[in-house]
Amino acid sequence: MNRKKGDKGFESPRPYKLTHQVVCINNINFQRKSVVGYVELTIFPTVANLNRIKLNSKQCRIYRVRVNDLEAAFIYNDPTLEVCHHESKQRNLNYFSNAYAAAVSAVDPDAGNGELCIKVPSELWKHVDELKVLKVHINFSLDQPKGGLHFVVPNMEGSMAERGAHVFSCGYQNSTRFWFPCVDSYSELCTWKLEYTVDAAMVAVSNGDLVETVYTHDMRKKTFHYMLTIPTAASNISLAIGPFEILVDPYMHEVTHFCLPQLLPLLKHTTSYLHEVFEFYEEILTCRYPYSCFKTVFIDEAYVEVAAYASMSIFSTNLLHSAMIIDETPLTRRCLAQALAQQFFGCFISRMSWSDEWVLKGISGYIYGLWMKKTFGVNEYRHWIKQELDQIVAYELKTGGVLLHPIFGGGKEKDNPASHLHFSIKHPHTLSWEYYTMFQCKAHLVMRLIENRISMEFMLQVFNKLLSLASTASSQKFQSHMWSQMLVSTSGFLKSISNVSGKDIQPLIKQWVDQSGVVKFYGSFAFNRKRNVLELEIKQDYTSPGTQKYVGPLKVTVQELDGSFNHTLQIEENSLKHDIPCHSKSRRNKKKKIPLMNGEEVDMDLSAMDADSPLLWIRIDPDMSVLRKVEFEQSDFMWQYQLRYERDVVAQEEAILALEKFPTPASRLALTDILEQEQCFYRVRMLACFCLAKIANSMVSTWTGPPAMKSLFTRMFCCKTCPNIVKTNNFMNFQSYFLQKTMPVAMALLRDVHNLCPKEVLMFILDLIKYNDNRKNKFSDNYYRAELIDALANSVTPAVSVNNEVRTLDNLNPDVRLILEEITRFLNMEKLLPSYRHTITVSCLKAIRVLQKNGHVPSDPALFKSYAEYGHFIDVRIAALEAVVDYTKVDRSYEELQWLLTMVQNDPVPYIRHKILDMLTKNPPFTKNMESPLCNEALVDQLWKLMNSGTSHDWRLRCGAVDLYFTLFGLSRPSCLPLPELGLVLNLKEKKAVLNPTIIPESVANNQEPVNSTNNHGQSVGFQNTEDDHLIKETASSISGHQQGVKRKADMPLGSPLEPGQILEKNEDSKVKLKIRFSNSQEEEEIDMDTVHDSQAFIYHHLNMLERPSTPGTSKEQSSGEMNMHPVSAAPLSVFSKESNSSKHSDHHHHHHHEHKKKKKKHKHKHKHKHKHDNKEKEKDPFAFSNSPASARSIRSPSLSD
């Protein structure tokens, strides 16, 4: 979105404006998992000759469409169902990503597109010309939806309500189109009337106010009537139906909580805190919660832990907990706070376009951060900021950058902002999930940077302004055209910032919002005694991927003997060195307290210092006001001072990490002191445990005394009289609880000179387990016990194996036997007395995998597979699946990989499907540069199919499949595919032979370009790389490639090297190029793809053949022709001269031709969704959903083509 455009206000991409929508679901069948209902949209045309209305709808079977009670013809076409329509043998991810982005664009509501195209009946044209209101009534049904709406139906006896069956809407970004036809955009606001008729035992929870609940005539069902008078985007509409228990919040009666049967006590406890979050947000925003009510629903098999919708939030039921649970409590409260922040920014205030998403995510994340600061304290807040910063930095450096505000105004792909990524960032639906989470993380960090610049007060004023504008607008009638005030845009947001604060934050925005990448600083220093000056050198790395150059102020804090001093350096283009004058002369003899930054004065033992220098420690950018990674060099004693005396937890954590490199007794002492210090932030102490373990391992030969932390643990947690026995559990003090949990885990990482875990430590941990006694504790010890098992797992070292002997019980290491004994007992006890969230089972499974991996126990996935089955608690399943994924990698098991991929396709729980792909991506069985027996053509086909058509019901899943494909095969053609056997390929349509594009040398490829397209520089780079890759691979693996080729030939009974399939494949290759190039030029010239396709389809249909020369009037179609396998008279593909093998040629041609005819015929049937055919076509309907863009375009029913 261009910013100037935003200034003028919001311009709808649609030729009409939606004002009101009715959604009525008459029937929900849990047994069949089906939904029947209708929607009615009230729209006002904004242009005179509106004859088509495009809406979004996926999966829905549409029975009938009426416009103002007149039957209307419609077409349902969803190109995202199958992205690459042809059986492309190219298998090139670059190609796929472009095609996918194009498909998503083709139905993108923000571009005025949609899957469902309704023709306004001609009788109404006059009516439309007067811009009078239209009512579009659509009857639809959903059968076994695979996305958007999730049914949970436990398989047991009893009525649906008794079984706890429920259904809820879910999805990633705008996914409402999956369950009812709508304008699925965050920018199209309207008021809503929602009606749900459900079983009398069920409750339907939805957005807005519940107006009334009415029984049906047979009294067996009831209808819930909801009204949402605040204009809301369809994407923020949600639904949850189930036999919920209802809890009215005791503090705020307009807030209602819902949970599944039997969980009411947990719900009471979990939500007892929510009102405080409400109060906090309302106070800082000085604004009432915008909706008249709020509902929280806790459901099983959640898509995400927290999903915020207008006036309601859907949570995972696994967030519920009792008062006995410590660890889950802060996590759940965070989720509640997050959901509530998004109510203000995200639901109430929506966004204008995808490129404004960062503002909403940023603000909601930022105010959530403020809540964290208030609730958990500054330490926790700073720790969190640091954590988020580290995460985003690591991600950007790994993948090459996250762009908050992508601008696609010009459409010039050559400055494609995300060329380093394997997916398009133009649409939320094409984003990798990990990228999206990082995007949110960066957004709130940037908001914090803005706050740093303009002060929190102004920041909150801006938010307040946005909210009050929106709430004024929301109470206005549609006619006042005020509703767009409820949409936030980047430009609008920046404008209010400058209005409120009067400050120019443009450089900041340019740096972090309009540009991707983070800053990487390397710092080092020298002290010039003569001049009493600190010479600081700060270098930047801005050439690596994901980095950018930083120019501007940078704060440096120097702690000297006389106090702490802040200096602001100007980081400029060429200046690396900065001289900072020191305030204090070195004087170490005078005993004097040393003032710290916070005004505190402390005594320090200065003996470790350099006698000549007054510097205690130096910190670069202590406030984290740059998104950066700092690698700073200072001596070990400085880090130690920093750890001991700097009061900022971030500094302490940095010091701990740095001390890992200094395994000295002094470091040991500093860390132990921190560990013991109760005033110290517990997370710092926990971190110190692990650092101490590492240091101890580095110092193993010189280490004196008992194993690290042992005596400390004994002193803190064991009985005074018998130090080998731990006290009975009392977790009243949470800081020490967390420490008690962590220390054994860290201790288990200790190793002796033989690189084994010391026997003493193992026995110590076993004793902790043995003497663990929770009877007197009022908190559950399940997390503690789980971590003790983790500790056992940490103590495991690789088995000494002689000649790869088979692992049996007889040669089991005695220590491992003890460990196994414990694990067996714990795992079995879990069956009888399950722990909260089965944390112990999870830890046991992980430990067993560790034992397998280290060769103590035979490696076998059977156990994990049984725990991964549907019906186990989700955490257990994930742990088990993680083990299977790991097994697949280590043992290179094709069978297990297949098993996982089958689960990705079939598992009932969307989160599991997503998670498997995610885990496979993070721990891949092989990667693109690796030889692996798993990497074969069938796998390529399978994954391709998965992302191409198998995951069309779930954006997140599809992107997950893309990620996996990228990890396994890279951007270019997978290396395991057989190399083309022919150097020359026939392009039959052009009657030309060309060099096989996959092996075209670089120079040739370059030569081609000007001929084909004039504007593809950005893309061509990618292609050269592709070809480079292939060249390399060709030489490197020619033997294997050949073998594979032979094998493949055997599979296909086509002996001839020139068999049609083979040729086709190559053709596809060339088409890939054309298509991509085409889409580039399309962007630039802003051709309406649909008109192109319409007319194209028309020609195709009527002229009825391939070889016809095109008419002069359709020159544009010519260039697009290739894409749809049309005869094309476009510029020749190749500079090579014609050469044809005539007989083969015609053979192939025939084949090709025939196929097309068949396809056409089929589609002709499928796509006539005209209601007249409705009854007749009902059985065929399911097919209709599996169309693809090209086919659909080509069979516009004649009545619709102009």
């Binding site: 609940t213 029984y215 009243m732 949470f734 009022k778 399950p834 034992l851």
Partner: protein, 312 residues
Amino acid sequence: MRTAPYGSKMADTASGGSGTRSGSKHATTPADNYYLARRRTLQVVVSSLLTEAGFESAEKAAVETLTEMLQSYISEIGRSAKSYCEHTARTQPTLSDIVVTLVEMGFNVETLPAYAKRSQRMVITAPPVTNQPVTPKALTAGQNKPHPSHIPGHFPEFPDPHTYIKTPTYREPVSDYQVLREKAASQRRDVERALTRFMAKTGETQSLFKDDVSTFPLIAARPFTVPYLTALLPSELEMQQMEETDSSEQDDQTDTENLPLHMSTDDSGPEKENASVLQQNTSLSGSRNGEENVIDNPYLRPVKKPKIRRKK
């Protein structure tokens, strides 16, 4: 002619008779001998009475039956008389008790003196004085304590010393913390292991080692129909524990609800405050029950009846 009724009587009491007979046959203890001697005297009495009445001979069974009846009769008199005497708060029966008893049993007492002085009565020698059988004391442990001087002698004796004297055990009770903990731990461990082994033996198992299924048997994983319930709800044991700790540490209970606050804030200072605030809160929520009628939440409103169908 005279024997006939006895024959029938005998049949009636046959079982009783045989019972006593078998009892007397095997009598060996001194107590039995004592009773036997008494009975024999009674038999003599019955026989002489029969003789007096003119019988020349009697079947043994008939005599036995009559003896039995007589014994019962006399026993009943004694029992009844004892009751009457106890009823009047005495321990020794008096003549009047006997008289009342006899009257009560339907016996004409007036006739008794005349009967006693009848001429043809036979006098039987008194039965040989046998020692009252000594009931062997079941458990005599130690000497009964003599009464102290201030207790009158008619008061019952002290009971056996073992019933009231603390018996010192030979070993000190285990109060050593270490041993206790050790014991508790190993006990629990043993129970757990036994239980899980049992469960594993009786149900399906999985094993980590293909060749050995018994050393580390794992109870097979079984999917649940509603997995979240077992995962989220505290087990009964935990609930029980929670109640126990609740009652003992009521003050502390409340601040669990504040829990994350404490993670960052330093320590006990604010803890108390929060606790009190929360106590207020909980009391607030407690009093909510009364207000509940006032709450106007759409989900609590009654479901409306369907409207009467409009034109259709």
